[in-house]
Subunit: 165 residues, 4 copies
Amino acid sequence: MRFPFLTRSDRPTASPYTRRMDLTPQRVNDLVATAFPATTAMGFACVELGDGSAVARLTCDPSEARPGGIVPGPTVFGLADLALWFAVFTKIGFEPMAVTSDMTIHFLRPAMADSLLARCNLTKVGKRLAHGEIRVWEEDGDPERLIAFASGAYALPDAKGDAST
Amino acid sequence: MRFPFLTRSDRPTASPYTRRMDLTPQRVNDLVATAFPATTAMGFACVELGDGSAVARLTCDPSEARPGGIVPGPTVFGLADLALWFAVFTKIGFEPMAVTSDMTIHFLRPAMADSLLARCNLTKVGKRLAHGEIRVWEEDGDPERLIAFASGAYALPDAKGDAST
Amino acid sequence: MRFPFLTRSDRPTASPYTRRMDLTPQRVNDLVATAFPATTAMGFACVELGDGSAVARLTCDPSEARPGGIVPGPTVFGLADLALWFAVFTKIGFEPMAVTSDMTIHFLRPAMADSLLARCNLTKVGKRLAHGEIRVWEEDGDPERLIAFASGAYALPDAKGDAST
Amino acid sequence: MRFPFLTRSDRPTASPYTRRMDLTPQRVNDLVATAFPATTAMGFACVELGDGSAVARLTCDPSEARPGGIVPGPTVFGLADLALWFAVFTKIGFEPMAVTSDMTIHFLRPAMADSLLARCNLTKVGKRLAHGEIRVWEEDGDPERLIAFASGAYALPDAKGDAST
């Protein structure tokens, strides 16, 4: 799936990080594998990109599971965080310098699947922050039966590439 | 450091998980290493226990660092989550079935140290939930210069050992 | 709009608060006006009920507005909180004893309208907690242009009517 | 109590909102009463200011109480929000344009007192955001017996006075 980078009227058009590019899940995975090889090695991947949305997958590592085969909470958090990062890419291009500002997660049910999916829908892309909500479910299960619900914000780099808050 | 388990009048005294036991950081680390070996292997440890408080340490793994040597956000989240879990132990004993219900984290600065510390202070221990706040800082840095601030709740098992919410 | 109360298999059917009743927005408003007259007097109302969802309206009081006619943040929070409460009613009946356990809100834009709407969709109804996400927008504006995004949990009363956590 | 405005090296010193001024609780209350008369009328006041900390008081209005004399959750939220705002003043001066970016609150116990206090301690003051944690308790009760715990961030105006995120 391809999509053009979408210019937002409420963002500075000359910002160096609003690079127009043809992002696809494969291209994101290639970029992540190069810049963040540990993320790829941990089983995380981008599987879908929309306009302000993204789906990330975690292929679970049984050796890291909790007793009973439960996926650790921080790993679920990491998946939600990644889905938000991918969704931000669809608005500002691939941006390694975008960093999580805050995240709230509710763990709704234990996750015991071979793989999890997380869908992020951005709720706002502003000058400084992009905010989104993320739902996590088991890939072979009911997408309405949520493992976790998260929401949070990414700090966007300014014209100098500085995302510190 | 040793401390007696403290009975709280606002908890059911006959609950099977209020096991009186002499918890020490070493004993917690031994229990975690047995029940959750991946947690130990990832460099997490308990270094201090108080009455409703705990300090957890993360010895950072350079191979998992982000570019620039930055500790990944989900790893910082995991450290905060662990400190809350340890603090809960000081009120109800070692309880593998206590699960995170919700957590909010603000990432305040990038972490670039060899090791991080997280201190949790419980703010309430109720019948169903234990709530606490957690501060994360670099071990060789200023404890007031926070890497992250988190707060959240653990769901406590009921008399039947059920912590599902 | 009328809808039957929906029994959930994952809740104790004999619980005294799972009263089957025909809830409508008007009936909720009548019950709220009787039990919580201040809420009604402040301009809050229920305008829609679904199966696990609800819409609440705030008719803004200009005398309470901030300079520039901006609706105060805590008032927006109150509207989101109310929408979650109403959505909980659609699962367990009118329940004055259900209390907010936690809520996270991101204020995305200033609200300057005569009235605001908040839609809550429940993401889980468990034994102890009901969790939902809430979107707030200006009634005469674009529903996608969010004023605030919130998520949180209500503590549900147990068989003895006790919702303390 | 008087305190000098404290210059922070990590903030732009020429920013128009870093006005050096002698802030006292009385002066803050006077400024709030002028700019936000509804806030004063609702019983909110500043009672203490420190370096990066503040205490706010709510004199509860019985006519707005929930059944049983319980202070409404949104009112408690408003008190926490105000304490954070006051604490921000101690770093950047009185700043009506500083707006809440996000807030998470856990309601830990019902509040049934004539007045509540909320203490905010800032955990970071950055270029864009000030983050703090807030504890709420009953004025005539034990300060350790918390009614609510909150944390959140204020968006700070930039050099042009723009705090939109």
